[in-house]
Symmetry: D2
Subunit: 108 residues, 4 copies
């Protein structure tokens, strides 16, 4: 079935969704929340988009390529914002996002 | 605030999401469900995407344009499929989808 | 159709989802973001839940009552947090959430 | 962090979400779609709820217990419907749903 060819991407999206939500949760608990505001915003954008694309791919959406293209943009933006911050959760999130952006681009 | 400029689109997306879900529900209750299979699939794709874009626009997403572009494609595909069927719920859904595709394209 | 009996609730959920996202967006732009952290968290919980329940009701979910019961809890928690803050967006959000909690409880 | 205690449940929810979407996709391709209509409906209910709860748990939602309780009901209903059908995708989905219902009940 068509969803099998996306098995690796679905796993990567799932890990990115988790990393973004962990980062979101941790950012909101930081002392300087204000400095993390863009990170919080992008974490939500990115986790929502990754979760959406996961669902779409495993149900065999005909729009895989177009959705993956937007997802790549969002992951890249989130990864680049997270990279600016030294927190461990931000660095982990940046890695997950940039990896996910690369994999999304392969089917975009 | 930025979300105000999208007020009309948010309403259109909401109406399209409703029409797609009504059509989905009704298609699954039709005698000839098999003939409606593509309609059911696209109704779900479209209602999920419209619901996603609604949320994104009202929280001030920086990805409004890219998301609206994908949404326009999905709405158009769903509208074109629905147009083929005489059921009242399909015709109403086609109208809502094609209107929504047009409005999405304006910001895409 | 079954979705017609929920027409008023769907509208209320939609308004609550919007108010929560506006509040979320505005809270992240406030000078004292740290003071708004719980508000930001609950705004996301609540907007996501309201959006989810909207979709479920209009597609004729058999789980309307159970989902509305959880939604009522989340709306109430968000409304009570927002009420503590003087910002206009928080006060508007509190009103929308508490109204929505009441309407959800009627079908719960 | 709080999300760590839900690591196993998140994995189970993810597998259930996948099984439901595979079953949904396959049901819509069966010859006798009409016989699968309830299965299709419940697959969507269940995959959407599992995806929603996954996101909520990994962002540290304060509503884990209430959401897991509804999710358990939905998983159980979907599993019981799928069990009635001999298709391999239905049997796999039934297993995934009933396992997920059990795990959700543990935190409900």
């Amino acid at each position: 079935m068509s969803h099998e060819k996306y098995q690796s991407l679905v796993q990567t999206l799932h890990e990115c969704m988790e990393a973004c939500n962990h980062c979101y949760d941790a950012c909101l608990g930081e002392d300087d929340v204000k400095m993390m505001a863009d990170c919080i915003r992008l974490d939500r954008e990115c986790s929502d988009m990754c979760g959406f694309l996961e669902q779409a791919l495993v149900r065999g959406t005909p729009f895989a390529s177009e959705l993956a293209s937007v997802c790549a943009s969002i992951c890249e933006a989130c990864g680049n914002e997270c990279k600016k911050h030294d927190h461990d959760h931000c660095q982990k999130c940046a890695d997950a996002c940039l990896k996910c952006a690369d994999e999304c681009r392969k089917i975009a």
